[in-house]
Structures are given as structure tokens and as C-alpha cells.
């Protein structure tokens, strides 16, 4: 066969019939007018050749190379077979998942992003974490309205048509639930990074700046100190945002990663509040009210409050402080062999951009600075990578991020010293992954 091929190099390749037996040739001729028939004949021809070569090839090299697979010798699928493409069937393991026992009712629950399998900084829309308080809806966008009222000169109503006519921005921001990593305030409770850190996602959001709408409505610059955002779903989520935030970088967004928001993420309209915990990013946004006092809504008076050792609760602690985590290798993964690994992970800060990420492989005794991949954007996930040669001995991997304010991601004992162990929210401690001699990585606390 190789001799035949060398003969034809530099010439026009002969038709595949040249490699077929007389019977196959006849079959192929009969099938000539049928596209599929031709493809079948081609496949059959190669299979025949490979079978003929048999064991001799195995000694020469790997079957994956020496035996051409069907996709190299057949005809693939047509365009637009699936009007909205899906990930490869081989990627089915990477799904957002619930944490058993965390909640009992799936309409008021969480699904976690599989950070262990993601690359770069953008979360695919279908893997964006979910948090619903009263189930999700797929709302008719032509019937959706946004109202702006309260301390404004003009109380206004906007349709989606109206909003999408306005000047828009597209910006990449992370969103993190205030309860991300929260089950571990006391002890290790979760096996993998999907569950320890999977309530963070990062997408490109497109929409109109909230400041544009507030200016259009003539908000009261003297007394309008706060904004209340309210959703249109059953829970009608409400959250207080200070005017400084509202006029800075909040976006009334309709798009995520180049397409409209997914229903689970608030289609057709959600608020984007960069740097602030996800509960403030009100989905199905229906109303913005300008006021002169904070609102003490359910999710800022009963939940999303930080329980302190003296029995008080801190209210309105919405900032997601600087945090990072190694995503590979991470909890419940197995290293296949000793030797080189590219340790990779994510860092983010609600107060600005990531300045530096250090990585330790000895439980925090010695640190090296990782490479930050661009773009490094404010209030967005930043990807880091660092080389590591594993000698096969037990190791403890940690990452520690520093943001543009100089704040250094704390250790869990430092957080506990300040806030005790009974809090449920805002746990941004350094994560430790123990690599055992058998290659298994597990979640541990070391400080």
C-alpha cells in the first residue's frame, strides 16, 4: 500500500476504487449515484485494508495512528443538523449539579458550576451556576416591563424594545453567591471544587448602564441614596444597592456571552452588580426604586447576614472579597503519574482586579508567584498557571491571591479569628488540596 501511495505522490490522487477488490468496486459503482452509498463503500474499503495489515501494524505503532478511524475516511455530518450546537457527547460529565443535602426543595436551591473542567475565564452559559429562590421561569420578553420609580422626577416604564435601543456596554464580570464555600466555615464538608467553589461564574454581560436609566428618570441626587432592585418572579427578590454602586458600574443586562440571558439566569433582564454577591444581581428585573433609606429586605435582614461571635449579625456585607482556588489538580481528582503538571486555577476580587497569585505546594510554607493569563479585568475571574513537577510524595497545594487594593486572601483561621465559625456567608479563605502518594487529591484544611 505504501508503495502504491509513493507512486502517486505529486500526482492527482486516484479515486478510492483503485484500492478496492473487484466485488467492492462493483458495489461502489452501483452506489455511485447515492452519496451515502459512496461513503459506505469508502469506509468498507479502508476497514478491509486495515484488517489485512493486522498484527504487523500493532508492532509498528499505535492503532490510533496506523488504523485510520472512520472519521478520517468517511463523510461527516452536514451543516445545521443541530440549529443550536451542543458540547461533544464526550463532555457529558461536565454538568452543573446539586449538592445532596444542601437544600431539600429544588425550586429553592443551587446548582454548582463544574470549575474542575473549565478553561480560561468565561463560564459557558449552560454551565453557569444557578440559584433560585422560587423556581425559574421562561418569560415572554414582549410582555416584560421595567419600571423606575421612587425619588425620581419621571417615573418611567421601559419595554425590552425600549431598553435595547439604549446605548449599551459589554463587560466581563464574575458573579459569586455570598454563600460560596460557606459549608466549610467550620470543617471540610465537600469533596470537589465544583461544590466548594462552584457558585462562581464569569460571563460577558451586555446591557444598559443603570446610571443611564437613573439619569433618564432624573433621580434625586440629594436624597436618593439607595436603589431597590426587584424581580418579577414569585419571590420578587429585592435588594438594596447604594447609589454610589448604582451610578458606577451596574448594568441592566439582557445578554450573556453574546446571546440573550438564559432563562435560568434571568431572561430577559437581570441586574449586574459587579463585585457584589450574586443575590443582588436580581433576575427577571422588573423594578428599580430610588429611596433615601436601606430596605432591610428578607435577604438582607434574615439571610445573607454574617453571624458574629458576640451574637450580632452584620447586615449589608455584600462585597465578595479577594479569593482564589486551584481548579486542577483539585479535590477528588487523581494524578495519573509523577512528573510535570500545569497547576491552574482562578482568582477574583469584588474590589478590583487581581494583582498577583502565589502558589504553594507544601501547605503554605513556601510560595512561588504564578503566571496570570490575560485579560486581567476588574471584578472578573483571572486565570493563573504555574509549573510543578510532582515527585510522588504527599503535597498540599494552595493558592493565595492579592488584589489591586493590596488585600491578601486570608487563611481560614484568620477569618475565624475575626468572624467566628457560625457564619454562613463570605468565606474567601485559601483552599488546600492534599495530593496523596496514590495520586488522589482531597480537600483538607491546613494553616
Amino acid at each position: 500500500m505504501s508503495k502504491d501511495l509513493s507512486d502517486v505522490i505529486g500526482r492527482v490522487l486516484p479515486a478510492p476504487e483503485n484500492h478496492l477488490s473487484a466485488e467492492k468496486l462493483e458495489l461502489a459503482r452501483k452506489a455511485r449515484r447515492s452519496f451515502m452509498g459512496k461513503a459506505l463503500a469508502m469506509g468498507a474499503g479502508v476497514a478491509g485494508t486495515a484488517a489485512g495489515a493486522g498484527k504487523a501494524l500493532a508492532a509498528e505503532g499505535e492503532a490510533a495512528i496506523l488504523q485510520l478511524p472512520p472519521h478520517s475516511v468517511g463523510l461527516g455530518q452536514p451543516v445545521a443538523m443541530d440549529g443550536y450546537g451542543k458540547p461533544s457527547k464526550w463532555e457529558g460529565n461536565l454538568q452543573r449539579r446539586e449538592s445532596p443535602g444542601l437544600t431539600r426543595v429544588s425550586q429553592a436551591s443551587v446548582s454548582f458550576t463544574p470549575l474542575q473542567g473549565l478553561f480560561g475565564i468565561i463560564t459557558p452559559s449552560g454551565l453557569h451556576f444557578e440559584r433560585h429562590h422560587q423556581g425559574w421561569w421562561d418569560i415572554d420578553p414582549s410582555q416584560h416591563r421595567l419600571m423606575v420609580n421612587g425619588l425620581v422626577k419621571r417615573e418611567r416604564v421601559f419595554t425590552m424594545d425600549d431598553l435595547m435601543r439604549l446605548p449599551s456596554v459589554s463587560r466581563i464580570h464574575f458573579i459569586e453567591c455570598g454563600a460560596n464555600s460557606a459549608p466549610e466555615w467550620g470543617n471540610v464538608a465537600l469533596p470537589s471544587v465544583q461544590y466548594t467553589h462552584g457558585m462562581v461564574s464569569c460571563c460577558e454581560f451586555t446591557g444598559v448602564l443603570l446610571s443611564t436609566l437613573l439619569e433618564m428618570c432624573g433621580y434625586d441626587k440629594k436624597n436618593g441614596k439607595y436603589v431597590l432592585a426587584e424581580g418579577a418572579d414569585g419571590s420578587s427578590m429585592t435588594r438594596t444597592i447604594d447609589m454610589e454602586r448604582a451610578m458606577d458600574d451596574c448594568i441592566v443586562a439582557w445578554a450573556m456571552n453574546g446571546e440573550m440571558l438564559r432563562p435560568e439566569n434571568g431572561y430577559p433582564l437581570r441586574l449586574v452588580v459587579p463585585g457584589i454577591q450574586g443575590v443582588s444581581w436580581v433576575k427577571y428585573l422588573r423594578r428599580i426604586e430610588v429611596g433615601d433609606q436601606k430596605y432591610a429586605t428578607k435577604d438582607e435582614a434574615i439571610h445573607y447576614v454574617d453571624h458574629m461571635p458576640d451574637g450580632t449579625h452584620r447586615q449589608y456585607t455584600g462585597i465578595q472579597e479577594c479569593k482564589s482556588v486551584i481548579t486542577t489538580p483539585s479535590g477528588s481528582q487523581t494524578l495519573l503519574d509523577k512528573g510535570y503538571y500545569n497547576v491552574t486555577g482562578l482568582a477574583w476580587s469584588g474590589r478590583g482586579s487581581i494583582k498577583r497569585v502565589d502558589v504553594s505546594v507544601d501547605g503554605g510554607r513556601n510560595w512561588r508567584t504564578a503566571r496570570l493569563e490575560g485579560p486581567i479585568l476588574p471584578k472578573a475571574l483571572t486565570r493563573f498557571n504555574i509549573d510543578w513537577v510532582w515527585d510522588g510524595k504527599p503535597a498540599i497545594l494552595q493558592s493565595r491571591a492579592i488584589d489591586s487594593t493590596g488585600y491578601v486572601q486570608p487563611k481560614i483561621n484568620q477569618l475565624r479569628a475575626a468572624r467566628g465559625t457560625r457564619s454562613v456567608y463570605h468565606q474567601n479563605a485559601i483552599q488546600s488540596w492534599r495530593v496523596a502518594e496514590n495520586g488522589e487529591v482531597s480537600n483538607v484544611q491546613v494553616y
Partner: protein, 401 residues
Amino acid sequence: MNTPVDNMLPPVACSLRAAASPLKGAMPAPRHSRLRGIPGLGRARGAAALAIAGLALAAVTASAQTKPWNDIGRYATPAEVKAWDIDVRPDFKGLPKGAGSVAKGEEVWEAKCASCHGSFGESNEVFTPIVGGTTKADIERGRVKNLEEGSSFPQKTTMMKVATLSTLWDYINRAMPWNAPKTLTTEEVYGVTAYILSLAEVVPADFTLSDENIAEVQKRLPNRNGMVFYEPLWKVNGKGDVKNVACMKDCPVDATIRSSLPDFARDAHGNIQEQNRVIGPVRGADTTRPAPKALPASGGTPVALAAPKPAPAAAGAGDAKALVNANSCTACHGMKNKIVGPGFNEIAAKHKGRADAESYLLSKIRGGGSGVFGAIPMPPQPDLKEADARAIAQWIAAGAP
């Protein structure tokens, strides 16, 4: 709830005030009709108002808001604002006038709340308990002792935490009952709030809560002094409360592992191998088996490549499944797990082989009941369409999921 700014402008802004008031008044229809109602004067006054409105609009547009998109959108009508502006603030701004008794609240509670929250607000393992953990001393002090470090009280109930009574009223009004939010009347919301307060012994059993006495009741909330506003974690440019330093070499750490995942929890989140990619430098650990003795590459336990999970079955797998989702049945019944009520598989198993299973289930679905799977009652479902109820009954009788 907030009053529009044109009623609240300080005197210094009187020119703007004069401009803004007729502007707002002129746009929504109801105010016009009021002017037109004055015999003889209506037409002239209305026209004058419109003229002023026109001037005001021009003035506003010319002064601050010259953006070409400024007039996209439309004015909200008073009825629209009233329909949506339902929030109640800690100072009770936005609270509608009205009243509701503890007795009224108890009636509503038993019918619409108790199945999730328990007859006495203690909940049933599913939802956060609402009442419990507070004492008379807490009511005196305005701080809840059981929230302090060292307390052995196992839960943090709503009544232990809530410092603002408006929060309770607002949330019940906007989001309860869980599967039919915003369906309670104002009297019912007052009543349910009063009932919760009576269970926590904040008000007596014969109390009627109203917009007039709610501020007084606020002064008896057990944790009213328990909230702290901590600005460094509210402002983006704050400094926070925890300081770490970026030590690089020979840092002072204790290598002891303080906490790790217990062996029994190894597969509590399913088989992690099936939650990781099938290629790359690492694999998910097979958490259905004990940890392997040696590295995969050393000839120890080979890492089996998890077969990629087939795409989940299409949602149309059964109309009945769509129906139980659409009708919020799944709020209380899991496909294969108990939530408030039994899982659908459990119901199917119980009535398997019963000749009249379909008609029996139909009557239970429509009429509700209790005692078959425990004391928690299932409320009747009068709004469920007959055909839908029948389809669900058939589906369960045929074995459910």
C-alpha cells in the same frame, strides 16, 4: 415605597419644583379627568396644565437631560406604580392600612403555611424554622441570647434573627405562600404576621396587628438590637476586617491537617469520576470504591475511563412529568425522594396493583388528604385542571418515574 421627588424638593429647588409638579401631573390620565370634572373651568384649566407641562418638559430636556435617547420609554401611570410598588421599609413606609388578628392568622396558617412551616412555626426539616429560641428576657433586651457563642440551641430561627418587623410583613406579602405568592389579602398578611409574633410570645393570643400599632410591636422584637451595619464590607473601597500578609519563604505554618473529608462522605456527592473529563492530566477519583493503594501509572488500580454520560432524556419524556413541574407538585414531591410529601415513586409503589389506583389517586390529587404517608396534610388542588389531574393520576398508577 417612596414618594416621587417632586413632592419632597427643598425650597431652594422651587423653580424645578414648579416645573416638575405639573409635568408629572399632566402625563397620567387620571389627573386630567379630575381637572375636567370642574364645570366651566375644566377645559381651560386642563389646557393650561398641558401648556405648562409642555414648557416644563422643554425646560427639563434643555437643562440636564439632552441625551438623544432621553425620552425612550414612557411615564408610569399611578395605577401601575401602585400595582408593583409593594415594598415595605423598616420605617413602615409602604405598609398598607389594615389589620389582622392572631385568630385570622392561625386560620390562614393552618390552611396555607403549616404544611411547610409546621403548625407552630417549627418547620418540618425542609424550611428554615420560623419560631423558637427566643425568650422573654430577649424581648426586654432586644438581643437574642441563643445567638451568642457557646449557645447550645441548634438552630437559628427567623424570629431569633429578624430585627425589622417590616421584613416579615414584606416577605410574607410578596413571596408567600411559596407556591402561590402574592395571593394573600392585606388582612391575611397582617394576621399571619400576628400569628408568628404570638407563637414567639411577642404579642398575646388575642392581639390584632395593624398599621397603627406595628411600630409599637417592633419595639418588642427579640433581636431588634442585634444587627450591625459594617460599612467596610458594604463599600467597594472598604478595607475589610481580615489581614493576611504575603509571606513567601519559610512561612510560619503548622503542617497539621486540621480537617479533612471523612471516609463515609467519600461518595456523598456521587461518583466524582463521572463528574470529570475523560481526558487530560487528571481524572476524577472513583469515589464508589475505597482510595486506591498506588498511583495509576505504577500499575496500581487502573483508572477506568468513565463512559461519557448520555445526554439527559428530553423533557418531553412524559407529559405528566411536565404537568407535575408546571403545577408545582414537585415543590413537595420529588420524583424519587420525599420532600414535604412522599416521592412519586413511593406513591406509585404503595398503590401498585390496586384496581382503582387511577380514580383513587385522582380523588387524592384533587381533594388532598393526610394520614397515608404521615401527618403532614396535602392541601386540596381545586385549580388543577381535571384533565391534568387525570394525566398525573394515570402516570402515577402506571409506576411514575
